[in-house]
Structures are given as structure tokens and as C-alpha cells.
């Protein structure tokens, strides 16, 4: 499992380019932060009102007035800015964030994303996910390819309540990378050591294969 996540996170970090403003979702996406190349100038946005998240604090630096959207204590980098929640989402919803990397429960071949609610279980709320999927210029979803029961999470259609329709630009799993284009879902990369057959077997969705892969 750790290895699976590492594979996904290592691939996800390649989506980040120098100079980008990026929002990382709670959970696995947060792990991407540690792997951004040191020489890059990337500003990480936290939807509770910060652009320029720094590393976790030393114990003597901990400040209860300084947390990220996952409610973890953090620090800021030089050049950071604080703002209120309306400004934060103006930034997100107005298309000023270059990239959001979000976790997923299910992704459909149309690029639909479900990642906020499992009916019958406790409803926690969507937080900022429904805003991010419509606002950020590029939406990358990171998730494991199959669930605990071995069922594909890459679906023909989502079975869980949606976070957004046709919002995913790129899906990264431990098996493969898919891009969502106007022509549909395209397999663009296989993770190291993974065969096309394995991806086909583990994927419920219908997809085409990038010619460069064949």
C-alpha cells in the first residue's frame, strides 16, 4: 500500500511545473508537497486563506493561528499572503489556480469525479472540492486503481454522488495515467512494470490508447 501511494505521488509531482500556483487536496495529494523539486518556485494554496504554504513547523514554531485546509499546523514561505475565505475561493473559482491535485473515490470515463460522500455512511461534507473541480485550470485526480474488494474505481459511470461532472483532466493511479480530452478518456502512460493487459483488466471504463504508447 505504501508503495502504491509512493508510485502515485511520484508521478503526480511531475504535473507541477516551475512557477505554478497549486492546491493540494487532503490526504494523498498533501504528500506531493514534499517531493516538489527544491529549485522550483511553486506556491501552494490552502483554501482556508493562504498562498505560500511552508513545511510543517518545528515544535517551537507551532502556531494555532496557522493551519492548512486539513487543519494541520504549518509554516509559511517568504512571499506568502493571507486572505479571507471569499478571496480564497475567488482565486479558486475565478481560474487563478493553475493546478489542483485531488483524491478520488471514483472517476468515470466522462471525467466525472466522486470523492465526497458515501451514502449510508456518515456525510462529512464536500469542503472545497466542488469549488476546486470547477475553478482550477487543471484537475489531476490521484487514487488507487481498485478498491479493497478488488473492484475498479475507474468506472463507466460513477456510482457514488458526484463532486463534479466532466471535470477531471488527468487521472493518476498506481497502474497508469489517463488524460480526459474532447475525444474521451485516453491512456497516456503505464506505470513502471505494468502491462497494458493489466490496466485493461482492472479498468471498468472504456478508454483509447495514446498512439505513442503502442
Amino acid at each position: 500500500m505504501a508503495d502504491t501511494r509512493t508510485k502515485i505521488v511520484q508521478r503526480a509531482v511531475k504535473e507541477i511545473q516551475d512557477g505554478m500556483n497549486v492546491n493540494l487536496g487532503i490526504g494523498m495529494p498533501t504528500l506531493v508537497a514534499n517531493m516538489i523539486p527544491q529549485e522550483y518556485n511553486v506556491l501552494l494554496q490552502s483554501e482556508n486563506g493562504l498562498l505560500g504554504i511552508g513545511p510543517y513547523p518545528r515544535e517551537d514554531e507551532v502556531d494555532p493561528d496557522l493551519i492548512n485546509a486539513g487543519k494541520e499546523t504549518i509554516t509559511t514561505i517568504p512571499g506568502a499572503a493571507f486572505f479571507d475565505s471569499a478571496e480564497s475561493f475567488a482565486m479558486i473559482r475565478g481560474g487563478h489556480i493553475d493546478l489542483a491535485i485531488l483524491g478520488g473515490m471514483e472517476v468515470s470515463e466522462q471525467g466525472d469525479l466522486a470523492n465526497w460522500m458515501i451514502p449510508g455512511k456518515m456525510v462529512k461534507g464536500m469542503g472545497g472540492a466542488m469549488d476546486l473541480v470547477h475553478g482550477a485550470k487543471r484537475i489531476v485526480v490521484v487514487m488507487e486503481h481498485v478498491n479493497k474488494h478488488g473492484e475498479s474505481k475507474v468506472k463507466k459511470a460513477c456510482t457514488l454522488p458526484l463532486t463534479g461532472q466532466r471535470v477531471v483532466d488527468c487521472l493518476i493511479t498506481e497502474l497508469a495515467v489517463f488524460e480526459f480530452t474532447s475525444e474521451g478518456m485516453v491512456l497516456t502512460e503505464l506505470q513502471e512494470g505494468v502491462t497494458l493487459e493489466e490496466v485493461v483488466r482492472q479498468t471498468e471504463a472504456t478508454f483509447t490508447i495514446d498512439p505513442a504508447l503502442q
Binding site: 490552502s46 483554501e47 482556508n48 486563506g49 493562504l50 513545511p55 510543517y56 513547523p57 518545528r58 515544535e59 507551532v62 502556531d63 494555532p64 493561528d65 496557522l66 493551519i67 492548512n68 486539513g70 487543519k71 494541520e72 499546523t73 504549518i74 509559511t76 493571507f82 486572505f83 479571507d84 475565505s85 471569499a86 480564497s88 475561493f89 479558486i92 473559482r93 466525472d112 460522500m117 456518515m122 456525510v123 462529512k124 461534507g125 464536500m126 469542503g127 472545497g128 472540492a129 466542488m130 469549488d131 470547477h134 475553478g135 454522488p161 458526484l162 463532486t163 463534479g164 461532472q165
Partner: protein
């Protein structure tokens, strides 16, 4: 004018909050929440409250105190996952819940405060959030209409205030507080420090005093941390 909008006790600050009131409340998680005002409401025991706030505290702190005390009838929030009491009361049907995307919640409060009755947003299109809402196309894209929110009372927490009600927030404790401050018919700010008139730089005031009706000096700030995370040495 030294006193201005400053009231002398939490009791006085919330004296006219009655059963059935709608409260809009600042804070994100337990960060930047009006701790003392919430404890005051718990002690006052007003019930049937409608509370609009991004989160609902934890079981034994923040708005969770009012849940535990069965004072909240309806909660409007974007994320309530930190609170087991919430789950119980929601599943038993005791608590009415309206979940709102976080950006839509912030914008609805800003709109309420700014006299905008409704606006369009893409957030929630094609999801449960869109159910029963008016849809409209602009430039080939679908949006849903969301309404502004105004509360009977707004409760916020600021770092510093002056007696005119000008507020300054600190770091990410700002969060929802400035928009919430605009969205109350009566806005009550509890603060860590009250400074003299003219001591705040007019260029650095986050919330102009026009939005604030009462200022109260808070005490014994706990500022609880939900997820203490430190760097690996």
C-alpha cells in the same frame, strides 16, 4: 469615545440573542473561532438556533458545545467530519443539515453582506447540491443560482480591534471571519486585544468598523489545535 462599541461582558454582548435566532459564525475548524461567545451561548442556553459556519467544532469545543447542549436546530456548513455528536443527531433526525460547497458558503455570506440577493456559480452543477436550484447558461456553460445569507447575529473572532469596531485578523485565523462580519444584522466581535482609536493603520484594517456593532475583549484563549503536525527533525 474611548468605550465606543466595546461592551464589558460576554453576557452583555449576547444579551439579545434569542431562541430561534440565525447565527453566522466565523472560523475554520477550531482556528479563529469566537471561543468565548460560543461558551457564552452554551451558558445562556438559547435553543432552536440555525447556525451557519464552515464547520461545527469538535465534540467538546467550539460549536460542538452547542450541539452537545442540543441548542442547534439546523446547521449550514461545508464540512462536519470532526464531530461524532453531529453524526448522531443528524442520523436521528434531531439536527437539520444543509451542506454547501465551501466557496459557495463564503460567497453566499459575502453576497448577503453586500446586498446581493443571489449569484450564479459552477460549483455543485450536476451534483446533489444543484437539486431544486435554478440553472442558467452563460457563454455555453451551466451555472446554478445561489442565495445570499444574512444572519440575525454574526459572531467573529479577531486579533485586534479598536473601539470603533475596526478589526485586524492574524494569519489563517482570518478565514471566514471577515465575510461573516459583513453578514450579520448585528455583528459581535470578540478579540484578543483592544487598542486605542488611531492605533490601527488605516491601510491594514481587514474589517472596517461599519460592519461591527459590539466588541468584547475575550479571555483565556485556548486556541486548540486539531492536528498538531511538526517537522521530522
Amino acid at each position: 469615545m474611548k468605550k465606543g462599541k466595546v461592551v464589558s461582558s460576554i453576557t452583555e454582548a449576547i444579551h439579545d440573542i434569542q431562541d430561534g435566532a440565525t447565527l453566522v459564525v466565523g472560523g475554520f475548524g477550531l482556528c479563529g473561532i469566537p471561543e468565548n461567545l460560543i461558551v457564552g451561548l452554551q451558558e445562556k442556553g438559547v435553543t432552536n438556533l440555525t447556525v451557519v459556519s464552515n464547520n461545527c467544532g469538535v465534540d467538546d469545543w467550539g460549536l460542538g458545545l452547542l450541539l452537545a447542549n442540543r441548542q442547534i436546530k439546523k446547521m449550514v456548513a461545508s464540512y462536519v467530519g470532526e464531530n461524532k455528536l453531529f453524526e448522531q443527531q443528524f442520523l436521528s433526525g434531531e439536527l437539520e443539515v444543509e451542506l454547501v460547497p465551501q466557496g459557495t458558503l463564503a460567497e453566499r455570506l459575502r453576497a448577503g453582506g453586500a446586498g446581493i440577493p443571489a449569484f450564479y456559480t459552477a460549483s455543485g452543477v450536476g451534483t446533489l447540491v444543484a437539486e431544486g436550484k435554478e440553472q442558467k447558461e452563460f457563454d455555453g456553460r451551466t451555472y446554478i443560482m445561489e442565495r445570499g445569507i444574512v444572519g440575525d447575529f454574526a459572531l467573529v473572532k479577531a486579533w485586534k480591534a479598536d473601539p470603533l469596531g475596526n478589526l485586524v485578523f492574524r494569519k489563517t485565523a482570518r478565514n471566514f471571519n471577515p465575510v461573516v462580519a459583513t453578514a450579520g444584522k448585528i455583528t459581535i466581535a470578540e478579540v484578543e486585544e483592544i487598542v486605542g482609536i488611531g492605533e490601527l493603520d488605516p491601510d491594514e484594517i481587514h474589517t472596517p468598523g461599519v460592519y461591527v456593532q459590539r466588541v468584547i475583549q475575550g479571555s483565556h484563549y485556548q486556541k486548540r489545535i486539531e492536528r498538531l503536525t511538526v517537522a521530522k527533525q
